[in-house]
């Protein structure tokens, strides 16, 4: 799916005043549902319990409804039946993952019921929802309750009972959304695995957001920003470690509680903001976990405040300053990987050392797979990294010719669109990273990154583990060998001579820049000596030195 412009809040209040819904009205509602789902996509993704790489439910449902919307984006169709059919067709083509397929079935049933009617009134709406539910249930022999199917069922039922009281579609939608919300909250009671994980069903939640988005649109409420960042319980864990503390953060307070009345998040957040910072709220089944950092003098305030809202089941207070002192400053800074949005291109880079990983991260890699001692990550590790990304357009850089196969296998095991740009070395991988455009056209970016592989010469320096004659070079065990683009070109008794010999063989004089990554098996002193000699030999070249931390190779050299 290419980049997509989501509309700013439109005025749905005008639509709300209409008696009947037509094709254009339905189009607006779908757009609204889609936008609100996008805004809350991460919340839905975070609910995914199953390790089965169905991908992220939020992303899948969003991709599905986006596909539906793209089908009608330019349509001026007023006939609601025809519009609904187009939506269903788009959803069918773009259905991703389990929830996406079920969503497409819901659209299909909805469309079938509307047939070729021009407009829809309350009675027709109820029939359409029932048909949507029926069609969705038809798609499986043993429907599992406590999923999106249940929410669809409860929604249709709520609509039906509402019809007895009113035929105002706004009120009916209000009641539908409330019923969907209730149904989602109830899913842990129906599906034990949800209860175990302390989450609600992700597909159900996704459907809820789509419906809520429609309601918000009709009320003129904003769709771009999430109400709050409410996460699942498991994401807000007690005793999280942090790297740095801002002033005023002396204590971490985590409170589990059950509110007596439904929590008004806006007021809750603003009240808490007066006490402290780093506020997070997690939602479980009927229970909330609140996390906040407060200054010493306010450390009991969150507890007193929350006690007034309901029953507190558990409190944890931790002295952050003392914790930081204990940890000391020996922890290396965490990798700052690039966050990725759905629709963007993400890069998974395989790296032999932490220093090199940092460089990949700084160039925009969204995920790094450590190659390990033998530079041999498993297919599972690569697949895992791919699946955890929020997008389904992924490029993998193996950075080693032995890993290309594992990467390709991983790519074949996922429904995401994954292309391997076959970098055979770290310098090639880094060169490709420079051509990354996360918002660009996927095929074009892949092409450019692939072309970039040839922009750099790779040098590798290591100690020979056995004697061999290769490529016309006589190598004795224990000697230092140098490889140029994977081929042994040089052998010497010491690192310095090997490096210089390599640079010569690689025609460095025709290039401009030498970048050296030193490994974890060489001392900084030795590195500096060698680099000084290189500088002396190539005074007009730009020479950069980085700590690569890679095992096995004393030096990895990029010449460009």
């Amino acid at each position: 799916m290419s980049d997509f412009d989501f509309p700013a809040t439109m005025d749905g209040r005008q639509l709300a005043n209409e008696e009947l819904l037509d094709g254009q009205g339905l189009k607006a509602l779908i757009e609204a549902g889609m936008t609100w789902l996008k805004t809350n996509q991460q919340t839905v993704n975070a609910l995914n319990v199953f390790p089965v790489p169905d991908g992220d439910t939020g992303t899948n449902m969003l991709l599905t409804i986006q596909a539906a919307y793209i089908e009608i984006a330019k349509s001026g169709e007023k006939n609601i039946g025809k519009m609904a059919h187009a939506i269903a067709q788009g959803a069918l083509m773009g259905a991703r993952g389990n929830s996406g397929v079920i969503l497409s079935q819901l659209f299909r049933g909805f469309a079938r019921s509307l047939d070729s009617f021009d407009t829809m009134d309350a009675a027709r709406l109820i029939k359409a929802l029932a048909e949507a539910r029926n069609t969705a249930y038809k798609g499986v022999v043993r429907p599992v309750e406590g999923t999106i199917l249940t929410v669809a069922k409860d929604t249709a039922l709520a609509a039906e009972t509402s019809l007895a009281i009113t035929d105002d579609m706004n009120i009916i939608l209000e009641r539908i959304v409330a019923a969907a919300d209730e149904s989602v909250k109830h899913t842990p009671e129906l599906l034990p695995i949800l209860k175990q994980a302390g989450v609600v069903d992700s597909g159900g939640k996704g459907l809820f957001y789509i419906l809520e988005g429609m309601l918000r649109y009709l009320k003129g409420l904003p769709l771009e920003t999430a109400l709050t960042t409410v996460q699942p319980l498991s994401a807000v864990s007690v005793g999280e470690t942090i790297e740095s503390i801002e002033p005023g953060q002396d204590y971490e307070v985590v409170i589990d509680f059950r509110p007596i009345q439904p929590l008004n998040f806006e007021i809750f957040y603003s009240d808490l903001s007066e006490m402290g910072t780093s506020i997070q709220v997690g939602e479980g089944e009927g229970m909330y976990r609140m996390h906040i950092h407060v200054p010493t003098e306010k450390r009991y305030q969150p507890i007193d405040y929350t006690m007034g809202l309901g029953t507190i089941t558990k409190v944890s207070i931790e002295n952050l300053v003392a914790q930081m002192e204990n940890q000391g400053s020996t922890q290396p800074p965490k990798l700052q990987l690039t966050a990725v949005e759905p629709g963007q291109i993400a890069v998974v880079a395989i790296s032999p050392g932490i220093g090199i990983s940092r460089i990949f991260a700084s160039l925009g890699a969204a995920a790094i797979v450590e190659g390990g001692q033998t530079m041999n990550p498993s297919t599972e590790e690569i697949l895992h990294a791919v699946e955890n990304l929020l997008t389904d357009k992924v490029i993998v850089l193996p950075d080693n010719k032995n890993i290309i196969l594992a990467a390709q296998t991983a790519a074949s095991m996922t429904v995401k669109k994954v292309i391997i740009v076959p970098s055979k070395s770290v310098p090639q991988g880094l060169s490709a990273m420079l051509r990354l455009d996360p918002n660009g056209d996927f095929d074009r970016v892949v092409k450019e990154m692939t072309q970039a592989l040839g922009d750099v010469e790779t040098g590798e320096v290591t100690i020979a583990t056995r004697s061999v004659e290769i490529n016309g070079v006589n190598v004795k065990e224990g000697e230092v060998i140098a490889l140029h683009n994977g081929l042994v070109v040089n052998s010497a008794s010491n690192l310095e001579d090997a490096c210089l010999g390599l640079l010569e063989k690689a025609h460095t004089e025709d290039h401009e820049r030498i970048t050296l990554f030193y490994g974890d098996n060489i001392s900084k002193n030795e590195v500096n000596t060698i680099v000084d000699r290189i500088r002396a030999a190539y005074p007009h070249h730009e020479i950069e030195l980085h700590e690569g931390d890679q095992p096995h190779y004393q030096f990895i050299i990029a010449i460009e």
Binding site: S104, E131, T135, G139, V144
Partner: protein, 118 residues
């Protein structure tokens, strides 16, 4: 690979057991509305004796476990997505229940069911 030895003795998991797990997992997958016979002979045999592992083929090639599924899919769903889901569901179920690594899951869509609605 379907036989493991520990200090107490051997654990042997029969292909039939694996097929049953695969069967349950397949029929619970969304979009799948039935399992199909892979050939005429099997189809005829079904008339006489209902086989709970119909539509499932389990094959061990040395250490490598391979599953073939023959399914009927509901008309109107995105078949590719359904098939992918089935693959994942079956692999997950077998690996979780028995602990064997599934090397391959081949999905054969044998037909579509068109549902009439009232």
């Amino acid at each position: 690979m379907n036989e493991r030895t520990n200090q107490i003795g051997n654990i042997y998991v029969s292909p039939r057991a694996i097929a049953t797990i695969a069967s349950q997992s397949t029929i619970e997958s969304y979009g799948v509305v039935g399992l199909a016979a892979k050939n005429l002979a099997e189809g005829l045999a079904q008339v006489l004796v209902k086989d709970p592992t119909l539509g499932i083929e389990v094959c061990f090639e040395g250490d490598s476990l391979q599953i073939d599924l023959y399914i009927i899919v509901e008309y109107g769903v995105r078949i590719k997505s359904v098939a992918n889901s089935v693959q994942e569901n079956v692999r997950y179920a077998i690996e979780k229940a028995i602990g064997l690594t599934v090397n391959r899951v081949d999905v054969h869509v044998r037909g579509l069911r068109i549902s009439n609605t009232d």
